[in-house]
Each structure stands twice: as C-alpha cells, then as structure tokens.
Symmetry: D2
Subunit: 140 residues, 4 copies
C-alpha cells in the first residue's frame, strides 16, 4: 500500500502541502490502524470472554472510523485547508491514544490486543508528527 500511496502522490498534478514521505506515512498508518482496529473488535467478539472485552471492541470501532476518515481527508490534496486537517488529525491522535490504552490493558492475555495497541501507538505518533509540522507550516 505504501508504494501505491507514494506513486499516487507523485502523480498528483500540483505540489503537495505536506512532505510526501510524511503524507505517505500518515495515510498508510491510518489505513493499517483502521484495519487492525476492526480486526481487534472482531477478535474481541470471538473470544469466550467476549463480555469482558465489549468496551475494548467499541473503542476499537470508534478508532477504526476515525482513522479511515483521517486517511481520506489527508489523501485529498485539492482544496487543502489547514484548519480542517488539524482538527481531524487531532481527533485521530486522541482516538488512537484512547483505543491503545484500552488494548494495552488486555495485551498480556490477547495477542490481537497487543498487535492492535502497537499499531494504535504508532498511528498516534504519526498524527503528532503531522500536527508538529502543521504548527511549523502556518507559524502558529
């Protein structure tokens, strides 16, 4: 996916607002995190102790939705609006943070929570890298 994302950015008919490496990283990590979170919610429901993992599953679903929205918003170069990107990426960082914290609590018992938590932490970090860049870009 990373290769295709980069190829599409290279084929974009104008300059991109953010650095292409960073854009590729946030778009592909959000896609990865959305998929892992959907899978973790599903694995939670497949466990014998599903009832104990209901909160984890629900926060994973929230995180998956927020990551997909973020990947789409960052993919759209035409009509880029700093305030739009900042608002969406902030919410995504927060969603990944909350979902990771819940998965961390079950990581010692469930490998799927461990893998999902790792991806969520990584996605939160990329979001924060983008937010730092945006602060730099518009001088705020």
């Amino acid at each position: 996916m990373t290769t295709t994302t980069m190829a599409m950015l290279d084929a974009y008919p104008a300059d991109t607002v953010l650095d292409k490496q960073l854009l590729t990283r946030i778009i592909s990590t959000c896609g990865e995190c959305a998929q892992a979170s959907t899978a973790c919610a599903d694995a939670d429901m497949g466990e014998k102790m599903a009832a104990d993992l209901v909160k984890c599953a629900q926060l994973n679903l929230d995180c998956a939705d927020m990551c997909e929205t973020t990947a789409r918003v960052l993919t759209r170069q035409t009509g880029y609006d700093y305030d739009m990107i900042r608002a969406v990426v902030q919410a995504c960082a927060q969603a990944c943070h909350i979902s990771a914290a819940e998965c961390d609590r079950h990581a010692h018992m469930h490998e799927h929570c461990k893998v999902c938590a790792e991806v969520c932490h990584r996605c939160e970090n990329v979001c924060n890298d983008v937010l730092a860049k945006l602060r730099h870009a518009d001088g705020t």
Copy 2:
C-alpha cells in the same frame, strides 16, 4: 430517521450517558449533514463551472466523512468514553464550520450550496450543544 434513532435509544439495555433528545438530535443531524455534503460535492461536479467548485466539493467530502464517523461514535453507547466523544465532536464542529463557510460563498449562485450550508451550520450548532453538555457532565 429521527423516530427510529429515538426508538433504538429507548431500546438500549442501560442508561444513556447523554440526554436522549440531544443524542437523537446530533446523530440524525450528522446523518443529514453527511448526506447533504455528499450531494453538494456531487452537484458541484455536475455544474458547468465545476472547475470553480472543486475546493467546495473537496471540503464537502471531508465534512461528509467526519459527520458519518461522528454519527457512528455517538450511536455507540456501550463503553462510552468522554474524551473520545469530545475529540470527535470537536473535529466535527470544525469540519462543519469550514464546509459551511465555503458553501456560503456560493450560496447566492447555487441552491445546493445554500441548502448544504444551512445543514452544516445546524450540525455545527448541535455539536457545540453536545460539547457544552459534556463540559457540564464531567465538571471541566
């Protein structure tokens, strides 16, 4: 849709964290705004002067994605997390604000932008009502 949303909240097996009237209002308005924004982006592309409306269409698409995510997150009562809701609703209010401002610029020429702007403004307001309630609810 409002009637079904309320019926589903009434059938929820526990108390809801937010008032059901307010929840119904934000969920159904986000759904309405997502649909109107998708339609406005499409109508922009169907205009002879599509090239002038590209930015409007793109911000509408961002807004549609953010509203759908918000409707889903607010629909999920199980495992409610104040920080998750707050982050998502803040981003949604901002997305609606930005999309409405762009549609307002074309509202005198395009009825679809006028209708869409009205829904976006209304959705921003409901998001702000929910944010006010959340501040009250957790004493911050």
Copy 3:
C-alpha cells in the same frame, strides 16, 4: 433528512436518472438502516447476554457498512453508471435480508432487534424497488 435529501435532488443541475421520490426513499432508508444497525450492534454488546448476540452484532455491522456505501453511491448523480448502481444495490438488498433474518430471531426478546429488523426489511424492499426500476430503465 428526507426533506433535505429531496431539496438537494431538486437543486441538482441536471436531470436525475431515477425518479426523485424513489431516490429520496432509497437514500434516506439506507441512512436510517445504517444508523439502526450500528445501534443494534451496540445494544447487543450492552446486553448481559452479549455472548449470545455476537453473530447478530457482526451481521449488523456488515449491513451498516453496506447501507452507507449504497446511500453514497445513489447520492452521486454525476457519472451515473447503471451497472455500478445495480451491483451495489443488489449487495445492499442481500445484506439487509441477512441482517433482518438474524435480528428476527431475537426480536421477541430484544426490542432493539425488533426495531432494527423492521428497518432492514424496509430497506431490502426499497432496494428491490430500485432494482425493478433499473431493469425497466435499461430494458434488461
């Protein structure tokens, strides 16, 4: 939502391929069904007997995703493609049918499954009305 959907179709800068009443009906019913299905999956997880409702919740989530995609595809008038609409609406009718059948099994015990099943059946019917119209429209 229905009023806004119709207003947006009226503001569309060209003729719509399908009748506006029917378009409004499928778009708003898909939106309603997506929301009810998301809510039912959540209510399933909120029940004490959540473990028995896991399959229901998962099929509801599939149905919600399929209905949202269908609402978006039908909303886009520009570049309408009969084969695209037909494929998506057929899958949506099937997803609603399967999700309704599962909810029906729990409708006597859970009001949320009863409400959700009713909406899914209604959505399947609208999809079938659209498919019938499409067969008529292109003479197949």
Copy 4:
C-alpha cells in the same frame, strides 16, 4: 499493512473460514484500492481539465466506498456468513471493473489514472479469486 493484517488473523481466537493468505490479500488489496481511488478522484479534481474527469472521479469515489466496505466485511471473522461475503465481494469486483475501465481511458494522459487502473484490476482479480474459493467452499 499486509504484515499487520496477517498478524491479526493469526491472533484470531478461532479458525478462519477462508485461507489466511487469501484473506490477507483481499483485505489489503481492498484497502490499497480504496486509498488509490480516493487519491485518483482527488487528482482528477486537481487537473486543469477537471471538467473532463468528473465521471472518472465519481466512479472512483463509488469504488473507494465499496472497497472499504469489503475490507471491513472480510475482516470480520466472527459470525461469518457465506451469502453476505459473496454479495459484497461480487459488488466489489464489479465496482473495481467499472472504475478500472474508466481510468484506463485516461491512463495514457494521466499517471494517476494509470496507477489507479492497475490497482483496480488487481483488486477485481482478488475478488474473483475469493468468489471462486467460496463456490468451492459451499459446493455451489
């Protein structure tokens, strides 16, 4: 993304219905195709000749929505339903086919259409591989 998708399938608490290699392939290709299609629709709008690419952009958006839904439905192992998967994957194959055909028409002029068409063709092929496997699996 492929590595994480496979790790999540390995961590799933039961057997998967389809072969894990094939599942990983369809889930990650649908994610890749959804992203490339969102990017192509955006690049179309960023071109000076945007007005000529409106149909392409709209079919790309349909394809992106259908691919995201398919990735989510295939990710959910709990409560797997053959008819649900078959319906969704068939619609996805068709959406990719239509979107690829439109992008192919512009591939000689626009690199983003060329890259996107290649991914859409690949995604259609994986969908067809899964459909063939499903026919074998349930003996129809």
